[in-house]
């Protein structure tokens, strides 16, 4: 099996597209490196990326930050944090973003709320992508009965009424962080699955998949080596857009009292409790809502930017939903 006299053969074929001089090794740039180079030119996406990195840092160092401020998120300051008539205090040098209905620091609670939001958003999306890519790839690659079965399963998942399901599950299992993540992943994986299935349907007809089959590659190898790497771009884009969806879902659950149990601060339960006093204390409603809004917007804009960077041929107009 050795290729004898490879050098002579190459010499006989002079001028067949080969450089005669030894050129210095040029490192090929991976498609993702190229996408990163394009993304770096997109100011909006870079700004959003900055916001997200900042948010992640805030979530990671939430304890240190609140220590710095000096107000733990669950500490109730009944003297300084409440007006004599029992209403929350306005933003001041003591509470930068004001206080809530029992005299806690809104800023500290927003900082800790970022933890829950990002944790649920990222972990639920990660689970959804894992399940969605696996099921979607199998459905698209194998086709036939397997595809029919898996696609109908995805349809069933997409047609569940989200809130009804969440309420009844929480009623049975009790509210917790884990249940929130489970419920959200449970509801969004089928979206990923559908998109992946569609992509795989076109990828599996490519000649390189046929080439791999003619070499004797197994189905698993083709899926892992040839199919899934080509899903990277759409999956990255779609998961960036799913994270804010998951964050909003989490806020919805918390708002309804079905999310992370109190007193753990989340943006959703802050918005919910602020309802009773928003005329007197608008800051209490405004700042958690703003945090949610900025986070969602940053992820969505970054997702759009990533889509443009990863697939420069798709027109911007078409790329926007």
């Amino acid at each position: 099996m050795t290729l004898i006299a490879a050098d002579e053969v190459a010499e006989q074929k002079g001028g067949g597209g080969k450089d005669p001089q030894p050129t210095k090794a040029i490192e090929g740039r991976a498609p993702l490196q190229l996408a990163w180079a394009r993304l770096r030119k997109d100011k909006v996406s870079l700004a959003c990326l900055g916001v997200i990195v900042l948010l992640v840092l805030v979530a990671i160092f939430a304890n240190q930050l609140t220590d710095l401020i000096g107000h733990p998120p669950n500490e109730q300051y009944r003297d300084e944090g409440l007006q004599p008539n029992g209403l929350p205090v306005a933003p001041s040098s003591f509470f930068w973003l004001g206080g809530d209905e029992v005299g806690r620091d809104v800023l500290s609670r927003i900082i800790h709320g970022a933890r829950v939001s990002l944790l649920v958003g990222v972990v639920a999306t990660a689970f959804a992508v894992l399940i969605g890519v696996t099921i979607g790839t199998m459905a698209g690659y194998f086709g036939g009965v397997i595809d029919t079965f898996l696609s109908r399963t995805m349809d069933v998942f997409l047609s569940f009424p989200f809130l009804l399901f969440a309420i009844s599950l929480v009623a049975v299992k009790g509210a917790s962080l884990r249940i929130s993540i489970f419920v959200i992943a449970f509801f969004i994986w089928a979206n990923v699955g559908r998109i992946v299935r569609g992509q795989v349907l076109s990828i599996r007809e490519k000649e390189y998949v046929e080439a791999a089959r003619s070499l004797g590659a197994s189905d698993l190898r083709i899926m892992v080596v040839d199919v899934i790497p080509n899903l990277v771009a759409p999956v990255i884009v779609y998961s960036t857009l799913l994270i804010p969806t998951a964050i909003v879902f989490e806020a919805t659950l918390s708002f309804l009292g079905l999310g992370v149990p109190i007193p753990t601060p989340t943006w959703g339960n802050m918005i919910a409790t602020s309802q009773s006093t928003y005329l007197q204390a608008p800051w209490y409603l405004l700042f958690p809502s703003l945090a949610l809004f900025i986070t969602t917007l940053a992820f969505n804009l970054l997702g759009d930017g990533l889509r443009d960077a990863l697939d420069p041929r798709a027109a911007r107009v078409l790329a926007r939903k």
Binding site: A10, G16, G17, T23, E27, P31, Y208, A211, N230
Partner: protein
């Protein structure tokens, strides 16, 4: 190919002793693709008769050219031989063993001996993988070599096909069409196969690059004693590379023979029509030549015509052509290697553009002058 062309005596046997064995034998190959309708319960409503009873023999060391119009089943036949599609009927035997519809596992050892080169150099290489790992795939899949050994072999292969071995870390997008096709050739060559099926390997390339790739294939055949099945719709390319040629029409072989016999004395009216559409690079000769212009389009393979599939367009068609498919056999004084499936083969010197069919062909459509020239120029 010209350099490797074995000398053939009149019994059709190679004078060259070791190069005469039958490497691949296809008998009665059929592939029908079902057309299904229905959302949940799918019902087969029709079948595409892609390959409809093909007998073929390839001897080791030779190049068999397979020509025909787009959609005549050439590529499907190639994929049947490579075991990429299950066959509806018929058998394929390779090197004496039956490889018809083998399971994946049992097919694996044969995959090392039968490799394919694909038409589209852009589609046949995974854009997300580096060239080194694409060419190294065969070693990986068959567990032949890994680590530094694989890299060394990949670089050897790149050198053999005329690529700079330094470029093994690049992505396919960084190569030109011709270089990409060389990558495909290197991948096919990796396991030192006996048979390489070239599915229109040059039709997606520029003419100048076509010559380079064809010469490369030619050199490799001499170097490694390869056998080729060369599919193309460019008749001049096929003439250049092939030792024997088979002409396909609607899933059937119409005529087969040594390249010089077939191009020199085409017997089947379809072969005549195809050859008359080859452009001649001399305007004076081109003007004086009689073009044979066929009626209408290729009929749908969903509902192929009865009898000889060419009868609705054939200028020599008679009643028997509607009823009976003629056998593929030598006609007139042709040697046994030159076989034609026609009830009314064309004798030497006959101008079939003057013939009038003996059956009603009014359902076939009008005379379309451009239909064959488009395919023979390879555009």
């Amino acid at each position: 190919m010209t350099a490797a062309q074995p000398e053939v005596d009149h019994a059709g046997r190679d004078v060259n002793t070791q190069a005469g064995d039958v490497l691949l034998k296809v008998e009665g190959a059929k592939k029908y693709f079902p057309i299904k309708q229905g959302i949940i319960f799918q019902k087969e409503v029709a079948r595409v008769h892609a390959v409809d009873g093909v007998d073929l023999e390839v001897r080791s060391g030779e190049t068999l050219g397979l020509v025909g119009e787009t959609g005549c089943g050439k590529s499907t036949l190639a994929r049947l031989i490579a075991g990429l599609y299950p066959m509806t009927a018929g058998t394929v035997s390779f090197d004496g063993s039956d490889i018809t519809n083998l399971s994946r596992k049992k097919m694996r050892p044969f995959r090392r001996d039968i490799q394919m080169i694909f038409q589209d150099p852009y589609g046949s290489l995974n854009p997300r993988r580096r060239v080194g790992s694409i060419i190294g795939d065969p070693f990986d899949i068959h567990g032949v070599a890994d680590g530094a050994e694989r890299k060394k072999r990949v670089q050897e292969l790149m050198e053999v096909v005329g690529l700079n071995p330094e470029h093994f870390n690049r992505f396919p997008a960084e190569f030109s069409g011709g270089q990409r096709q060389r990558i495909g050739v290197a991948r096919a060559l990796a396991l030192r196969p006996k048979l390489i099926i070239c599915d229109e390997p040059v039709s997606a390339l520029d003419v100048s690059i076509q010559a380079q790739v064809i010469n490369l294939l030619d050199d490799l055949q001499n170097e490694f004693g390869l056998t080729y099945i060369f599919i193309a719709h460019d008749l001049s390319v096929v003439r250049h590379v092939s030792d024997r040629v088979a002409v396909m029409y609607l899933g059937k072989i119409m005529e087969t023979g040594p390249v010089d016999d077939l191009y020199g004395l085409p017997r089947h009216p379809y072969t005549n029509a195809l050859l008359s559409a080859v452009p001649i690079p001399d305007p004076d000769r081109a003007d004086s030549r009689e073009r044979i212009i066929l009626r209408g389009d290729v009929p749908s393979p969903v509902n192929p015509p009865t009898g000889c599939p060419f009868h609705p367009r054939c200028p020599k068609a008679q009643d028997i052509c509607v009823q009976e498919m003629p056998p593929l056999e030598p006609v007139f004084v042709d040697p046994p290697t030159h076989r034609t499936a026609c009830h009314f083969p064309v004798p030497e010197g006959e101008d079939i553009s003057q013939c009038t069919p003996g059956i009603d062909q009014s359902g076939t459509g009008p005379l379309v002058g451009a239909d064959l020239s488009a395919i023979t120029t390879g555009s």
